[in-house]
Symmetry: C3
Subunit: 211 residues, 3 copies
């Protein structure tokens, strides 16, 4: 198993766990756990493969990814009550998955096109899709809209990986650097509430008050 | 017309009707009816074709599917006021469409890959996408998050069809068994409020209370 | 640069601006601006390319589209505070982008299939996806569900372009007529509150009151 395959399975597994934790918060039944685990686990990679034209997508080619999601979903189903705060657990696992996917997405995009711009974009988008999809399906407030840094962390991971790859670093080194960069930024945001100040903040009014 | 084509048109037509009923609940204009009818009608199949790499997707190849959605949307536009409860009608038609699609999705996935795991997954996901999309577009509470069984019904249909196909049953028989299984489970959930008990239920707190 | 490429860049740029304006309303950081600008800017075209099977999608083939989104996102980041009403600006730019995409989507669908039905559908869906995606990602009330005409405007643009093309009009003329038709209808809706009366309006009750 290559380093990229390892990252891919890791990303799928931890995103699957966050989907199952969201199912637990919504008190769904066991099949609801498995559904959200699978959708969140493979969501980001499905998006990546589709826009790059790598179809059938990865989990159709290798169904083992689905079995990973189902296994993780079952484990969470029987253990979710043990966590004091499922939402904090969800956020930290999401940080791990996002870090793995920011590199995986960039690596696939770079391999397919050779364009650093595309690599960084597929990295950021792939890393974000899993969480977006989970929050939409579970009716949770979107992790993207929380004040702490999120997309910036994905951007850090994708950029560091891409820059290292362009500079000729070995794949395993570029991958490790990218994952660490993304996780350091997101972890700092979760632990210390890091946020980037907004240039001229002003809250939006409700559409009905504007029209 | 084969049994699968028949199922496909049936799934598209009844999902289109649920989209139009959602448009009626939101008091959209006639074009809004047609838009939600088309998006809901072809949403599930579009997702299925894209992940399997069967592009251009089915309604681009056979535009007749779109004409079915438009016809159904118009009929609902002029008759929606006749139903005492449009939402109950929506749920029952959704049950029919979901049953048809759980088999159609499994059949296409099985034909494309030969993997039972993939077949069951494409069955469940295809069956769920139409309703998810409709609820997102129309701003309705997601049918997935209601306490009655939903995903489990789609899983029943896809599993029965796939098991029968693996066992060598003729296509028409496997399809009928799958559709009936899905509809029986979902119908029971709608009629009698069937639900699967949750292992250790505990409602999720709001993210702001956790962080 | 052909007239269609021009329309495409224009659609991407103005949709990107609406995404950045939504980011401003939500007080996101600069990277949040760029993310919403890129997702909204390329969302409609990504959907169009995927259903037509034109993968890898356009921005993977030509990364310049992404640079346009980033440039626009930065400009909006530093200027959003200058607009008295960002939401009105968002709606008017959305009208421009929707008009451009209703023609672009129809043109690509017509070129790929020769079917007027498919052309009108890809036109309407492509034109709507950008705004739908932006509103979902930013947690804004969907522009589709506002009472003023929206989908009808996209339908006008796609239909006029397709009819003119079928009638043999030169591409540049058919495009101009389509864009003007869409923008006239949507502009009138924004300026004068145009709406199509509903046949038998009746608000939907909450699901919990129905079941």
């Amino acid at each position: 198993m290559t380093v990229l395959e390892l990252l891919d399975y890791a990303g799928v597994a931890v995103f699957a766990a966050t989907g199952a934790l969201a199912a637990s918060r919504k008190q769904l039944d066991v099949i609801g756990f498995l559904f959200l685990a699978a959708a969140t686990g493979v969501g980001g990679g499905t998006f990546r493969d589709v826009v790059l034209g790598a179809v059938p997508v990865f989990w159709v080619v290798k169904p083992a990814y689905l079995l990973v999601c189902i296994g993780v979903g079952l484990v969470v189903y029987f253990t979710a009550h043990l966590f004091e705060s499922r939402y904090r657990m969800l956020l930290w696992l999401d940080a791990v998955g996002m870090s793995a996917y920011s590199v995986m997405g960039a690596a696939k995009g770079f391999a397919a096109t050779g364009s650093p711009t595309v690599a960084v974009t597929t990295g950021v988008m792939t890393a974000s899709v899993g969480g977006i999809l989970r929050d939409l399906l579970a009716g949770e407030p979107s992790v993207l809209l929380r004040p702490e840094i999120y997309v910036t962390a994905a951007l850090s991971g994708a950029s560091v990986f891409t820059a290292a790859s362009v500079a000729g670093a070995p794949l395993v080194l570029a991958s490790a650097a990218g994952v660490l960069a993304a996780f350091a930024v997101r972890g700092g945001a979760l632990r210390y509430g890091w946020r980037i100040p907004v240039y001229k903040p002003r809250p939006g009014r409700h559409p009905d008050d504007v029209m």
